[in-house]
């Protein structure tokens, strides 16, 4: 079987199935031919190159490969739909962020950090979307469920792995913190001084 034919089958398969396709699934398209993962890789590279100049791209996600439209054509494509995509609430996004960056995490821990109760509705919504799942139960009183994100979460947010999440802002360590506190204590009613300290620390944050 010629590689060109393999390429056509792989391209058609990627478009025919809505879920990302793993390398195994792609090799599995050819049970009767001797097609290796190497061949598939070459074909995927070819396809990727052929999409360079187009409105679609080949994306590698955690579960496998997916063909999707490029962000650059989004302004036109959004004209196709009557309704705007649903906005996610800040409460949901903050909860999701905590689960993504801090998994495995319990609901109580999320509430500690956010300082407010987490509504069951939000948890259920994300479970239903299969963005989060129960990883197990912590062996403490009440056996709280430990939550984590799923591959569907990565797919939906167009990430290959959790490492592709935007990096979390640094937190100042306690020693620096205490030094600054002691330094600033005498001036704590002086907003000008505080503002100066602020602009300094902003620079630091920008460098991070």
């Amino acid at each position: 079987m010629e590689l060109k034919q393999v390429r056509n089958v792989v391209e058609a398969a990627l478009m025919a199935f809505d879920e990302p396709m793993s390398m195994k699934a792609l090799v599995g398209l050819f049970p009767d031919e001797e097609i290796t993962a190497n061949d598939i890789n070459q074909v995927l590279n070819d396809l990727d190159a052929s999409y360079q100049d187009r409105g679609i791209e080949l994306k590698k996600l955690s579960k496998g490969y997916r063909l999707q439209t490029r962000e650059s054509v989004q302004p036109w494509l959004q004209n196709m739909w009557q309704q705007k995509p649903k906005k996610l609430s800040r409460a949901l996004l903050e909860t999701l962020a905590l689960i993504a960056y801090r998994q495995p995490i319990t609901r109580g821990e999320i509430e500690d950090i956010r300082g407010v109760a987490v509504s069951s509705k939000i948890i259920h919504y994300m479970m239903d979307k299969e963005w989060i799942r129960i990883l197990g139960y912590r062996d403490v009183p009440g056996k709280p469920a430990m939550l984590g994100t799923t591959k569907e979460f990565l797919d939906y947010f167009n990430l290959a792995s959790l490492q592709d999440l935007p990096s979390l802002a640094e937190i100042k360590d306690i020693e620096t913190l205490e030094q600054e506190l002691q330094f600033g204590e005498a001036n704590n009613e002086n907003t000008n001084e505080a503002a100066a300290a602020d602009s300094q620390s902003k620079e630091v944050q920008n460098n991070e």
Binding site: P85, G115, L165, Q182
Partner: protein, 274 residues
């Protein structure tokens, strides 16, 4: 924004905070002083994701560094917000009150003179608050970052081509009893422990029997109460059936009818005439 009884607070430095708003309300920014138009209070409180968020807002509004919170000013402002909300009979989440108490405590501890003995053991009372604020702020930022990621259905769409015979795919499913059990376990755990207390073998057998009873009512309009019982099942079986009938009665699913005292009792569906 209405002009009535505007009171400005001299401590507050006015600084612009970008603030996107809501429900046709014309404001484009958060109020720059402590005055909030009464009808906007709810909208504004909803804009905050809890006490830490409100506190962060108060700090950022003045371009202050979290690391150097002027605890006196901030506490005063925070408490004024809370009091305002109280005055409006606004149902205030407990978390806001807890934070007010915490701020008041920090404030009072900072008023106490420090002895030399304390210096090593006691850290600045603000430290814990600052740690929490920092921690919250980084996840607030992370939430915004995640919101900014390209999303399927918003910035990108999955490319697909139509494929005939998709029905074939649908018809092949693969689930086992274990999948079912795990799904049940998960859904009940999520629904809180209070709901899941009652699922035991006995209850399931009652539920099973409820289905059997309803099934007999699907076949006939009325069913003789006696006919539900059979000797071969023994006492245990009779009890299960009886409990099933009680459950169905409780749920307004069936009703019992009797034409005369001591006559046979019949079951019928509550809906049979409707």
């Amino acid at each position: 924004m209405s002009e009535q009884e505007v009171k400005s607070n001299p401590v507050v430095k006015q600084a612009e905070m970008p603030f996107a708003v809501v429900e046709g309300k014309p404001f484009t920014s958060m109020p720059t002083d402590l005055y909030i138009p009464p009808d906007a209070l709810e909208v504004i409180l909803e804009a905050f994701e809890g006490p830490l968020d409100l506190l962060l807002y108060l700090i950022r509004r003045q371009n202050l560094d979290i690391l150097n919170i002027p605890i006196y000013d901030i506490t005063k402002q925070y408490v004024e917000y809370i009091e305002l909300m109280h005055k409006m009979n606004f149902e205030l989440a407990a978390e806001y009150l807890v934070m007010a108490a915490m701020l008041a405590e920090i404030k009072s501890r900072m008023l106490l003179p420090k002895t030399h003995d304390d210096e090593d053991s006691e850290e600045d009372p603000r430290a814990e608050l600052i740690r929490r604020l920092q921690e919250y702020e980084r996840f607030k930022q992370a939430a915004e970052d995640i919101d900014g990621l390209p999303r399927v259905g918003r910035e990108v769409w999955v490319a697909h081509a139509y494929l005939d015979k998709q029905a074939d795919i649908e018809s092949i499913v693969d689930i086992t009893v274990k999948d079912l059990v795990m799904a049940f376990k998960e859904v009940m755990m999520r629904a809180d422990l209070k709901v899941s207390h009652a699922i035991e073998r006995e209850v399931l057998s009652v539920r099973d029997r409820m289905t059997v009873v309803l099934d007999s009512l699907l076949k006939a309009k009325t069913v003789n109460f006696k006919s539900l019982f059979s000797k071969t099942e023994g006492k245990q079986g009779a009890l299960v059936t009886f409990l099933a009938v009680l459950e169905l009665l409780k749920a307004h699913t069936i009703e019992l009818v009797q034409s005369a005292p001591f006559a046979d009792i019949y079951l019928q569906s509550s809906m049979s005439e409707g």
